[in-house]
């Protein structure tokens, strides 16, 4: 067994035996637009980000056979700062590490792994806020997703809004409290001929719109 198929089998079993039962029984998802979820790659999923749970929720929406082809893009400085962490997250979750610092690399070099995954008909999750939020507010989106879209104009971008994980496991706490999360999925968009800045704003407004349409009472 080569190392890639070993990683895939471990990830397959991890999601089948642990993550999916945990997400669907202990936590729970109210997914209401499941038909808008892509059946296969390539695709870029874009979501707001408040908790590590976000990633497990989005991935659990897919059948386990597809999950091995879903890769969250994750900060290299956080998830790969030690060899052990890097190995664990790359094997169990299948993350694609990315540098958050400005480097001298070209954009093609920086997004090399993401582009390769998309070429390989895989699905990539990106949180354009760049980090977890602390108050369930949607922060400004970084332009990375627009650059990737520009390099892959035929790949659909599926914006989604997640509500709940900031209550389950917020950035400031280490204890999990069960809540059912809501996931709202928008129609796919493709890169148009606007600037990367405008395209970023467009995606952000779609995610914000999902939040505003489904907003409910937030204080007693």
């Amino acid at each position: 067994m080569d190392s890639q198929s070993f990683k895939n089998s471990v990830k397959f079993l991890f999601f089948l035996l642990l993550v999916k039962p945990f997400i669907f029984f202990v936590l729970g998802i109210n997914a209401r637009d499941m038909d808008k979820l892509p059946k296969h790659g390539p695709a870029i999923l874009v979501a707001n980000h408040n908790s590590h749970i976000d990633t497990l929720l989005i991935m659990s929406l897919f059948p386990v056979s597809t999950i091995v082809k879903v890769h969250p893009v994750a900060a290299a400085d956080y998830f790969c700062n030690t060899k052990l962490k890097s190995f664990i997250f790359k094997t169990l979750i299948g993350i694609i590490p990315i540098q958050r610092r400005v480097t001298k690399q070209s954009k093609e070099e920086m997004f090399k792994d993401i582009n390769a995954a998309l070429k390989n008909n895989e699905i990539v999750i990106i949180y354009p806020e760049g980090t977890r939020g602390e108050d369930n507010k949607i922060k400004d989106f970084k332009t990375g997703v627009a650059h990737i879209a520009k390099m892959n104009p035929e790949v659909p971008i599926i914006p989604m809004y997640i509500n709940g994980p900031d209550k389950i496991l917020p950035k400031i706490d280490a204890i999990i409290v069960p809540f059912i999360s809501d996931i709202y999925i928008a129609e796919p968009v493709y890169y148009d001929d606007t600037t990367t800045k405008d395209f970023t704003l467009k995606i952000k407004s779609i995610v914000e719109n999902l939040y505003l349409t489904h907003r409910r009472k937030e204080t007693l």
Binding site: G28, N30, A31, R32, G164, K167, P170, D173, I175, V177, P178, F179, I180, S181, R216, K217, E218, T219, L220
Partner: protein
């Protein structure tokens, strides 16, 4: 392992329920075949079958599986409630305590420690929730949060716990149906009451009864539901319960009213928060609380009706 006694009447009743559900399913499929776009009816029936099959599977074996099943229902309901309402970030530890009350409460039910079952949530948790909250120290919205959390636990743990506490009723109280006979009786009455109120409301409904809470409810629907539920209660009584006709007729009236108020209470909460359904667990129905809303009122009430007449061994 304590098994659940199934009298022949209860077996016949379960078989009859499956037959009725089968007929309704066929009708639903015919309707959705004739009228295009009535697919919601089909998903609704599918969910119904899953609920009924799970219920029978859980209650056929023994007391422990039945109680564990109700405990899981209680967990799903409480989680749904906490996810629906706004909660304070500072109350995360309090919510964990509330979840922890579920296994404790069902332990009391399983061991037959009925006094603790009665006291644990209305008294001890009533004291423990504010205790944990003052230890955290966030006073902004303290009273609202305290009240909401206790209401949630009363609804989703205490009231739902009554489903399981029926199994503590000794068999001699109900020779015709046993403990399961009482439970079947109240579930049939609550569900048929929901249905009858809907049918009478659709057919004769004119005068709105609670325009601000639930605009679809009418005086005609309520009266029709109350009367037909009382009749069904009287007809079913000798089969599943030890009640006289008069006792059964009275219980039918009380249950129908309680079911109505349980229903509109949950509607009022949903309206307050601004959601249509309490969740999306049961396709075609909404959330688990949407299905349990009337039972949260009727099941505990009926238990105490039984306990009032046959207090021997229940209130000890």
């Amino acid at each position: 392992m304590e098994t659940i006694a199934l009298t022949s009447n209860v077996k016949i009743c379960i078989a009859a329920l499956y037959a009725v559900l089968g007929i309704i399913t066929i009708v639903a499929y015919v309707i959705s075949f004739i009228k295009k776009g009535a697919d919601n009816l089909k998903t609704r029936m599918k969910s119904f079958w899953i609920i009924v099959l799970l219920f029978t599977a859980a209650f056929m074996f023994n007391k422990l599986t039945a109680i564990v099943f109700i405990m899981l229902v209680s967990y799903l309901a409480l989680k749904e409630f906490f996810s629906m309402i706004p909660t304070r970030r500072s109350d995360r530890r309090v919510l964990l305590w509330a979840y922890l009350s579920i296994p404790i409460q069902f332990y009391f039910i399983y061991t037959g420690w009925i006094t603790m079952f009665y006291l644990f949530i209305p008294l001890y948790l009533f004291l423990l929730i504010p205790l944990r909250m003052v230890m955290i120290g966030d006073t902004d919205g303290f009273l609202k949060s305290c009240g909401t959390l206790h209401w949630a636990v009363m609804t989703c743990v205490y009231a739902i716990g009554y489903f399981a506490v029926y199994f503590s009723i000794p068999a001699f109280v109900n020779p015709a149906g046993g403990a399961l006979g009482f439970l079947l009786y109240i579930l049939i009455l609550t569900i048929s009451n929901d249905f009858m109120q809907y049918v009478f409301g659709k057919t004769f409904g004119k005068h709105k009864i609670t325009p601000t809470v639930s605009p679809n409810k009418t005086v005609e629907g309520l009266l029709g539901g109350v009367f037909s539920t009382a009749v069904i209660a009287t007809v079913l009584a000798p089969f599943l319960t030890p009640f006289t006709y008069l006792q059964a007729f009275l219980v039918g009236l009380v249950i129908a009213l309680a079911g109505f108020f349980g229903d509109i209470t949950m509607s009022a909460i949903k309206r307050d928060i601004g959601v249509k359904d309490t969740g999306a667990l049961l396709p075609g129905h909404g959330g688990i609380l949407d299905r349990l809303d009337s039972m949260i009122f009727t099941v505990p009430l009926f238990f105490h009706y039984v306990a009032y007449y046959y207090s021997i061994g229940i209130l000890k």
